[in-house]
Point group: C2
Chain length 158, copies 2
């Protein structure tokens, strides 16, 4: 942890000015390194995605800020669903913590904030998938009350 470790950790909605920093976090990751492109200027896709999330009332990009620096992020999607008698659920994606701030509880605080927001929105469940290539993530989510009851499947359309 840096010396900023004692400053309060603030959870807030991401702003456009955070984008460079968010992409840097996505790219600084064993899996992200192979699929992101962090450079200046950023590829236009990142700004387009940021805008699509910002205008969608069912999507939120949340950042963790400490001492003026963005050190964590996640995306929260609210999902209307017919199942469970039509109750809303929430999905968490893209949880990342800046390298220098890892193992300091920032990820836990981010996910706890997501659970809080999901409750505020009346969701009965929060769901997410985690790559089997990140075994440490599974223990992290189990400690936060998640159950690995499902298989997570992906199919590329490339």
């Amino acid at each position: 942890m840096s010396q900023a470790g004692d400053a309060p950790l603030v959870m807030r909605t991401a702003r456009e000015a955070d984008l460079q920093c968010l992409v840097a976090m996505l790219a600084d990751d064993p899996l992200g390194a192979t699929r992101e492109h962090y450079g200046s200027p950023l590829p236009a896709g990142y700004r387009n995605a940021f805008d699509a999330i910002a205008v969608d009332p069912n999507n939120e990009l949340i950042v963790a800020e400490q001492a003026g620096e963005v050190i964590g992020m996640l995306q929260l999607t609210y999902l209307p669903s017919l199942t469970y008698q039509g109750r809303w659920r929430a999905m968490v994606e893209g949880v990342r913590v800046a390298r220098a701030a890892r193992s300091g509880g920032v990820g836990r605080r981010l996910v706890e904030h997501a659970l809080h927001r999901a409750r505020e929105r009346g969701c009965h469940m929060v769901q997410l998938t985690t790559d089997k290539a990140r075994p440490e993530a599974l223990a992290f989510y189990r400690a936060l009350g998640f159950t690995a009851s499902h298989e997570g499947l992906k199919r590329s359309l490339a």
Copy 2:
């Protein structure tokens, strides 16, 4: 398969008039039986969820209709995402086929339609989770090109 098996299978967006039939399908399922409530009138939650899906440009409830009868359903959600250089992905939820029409290829046709719609919307990936209590579903999705690369985690907020 019923005698309707030779009639063309049509994929279309669900209409409000389908709702009773959709909830009947959700309830007629080993897992759904414990959490759905099929009765007349339907609990208000189902209509609220239907309306929330219908007005959301990033959600679609798709039904498979044959000889005037709705015999299958799935929900498709389009997800803006910063990852993969800001490319959209799609998620499939709530795939169900009416009991009398099972093992006749309706599920496969529904998922293939979802893949087609996701491509039309420019998504680079389709994702879903399937309950580990439905082992036959895993083989079904693998045959459709999905890879079980992720763990699917859920956390109830009840």
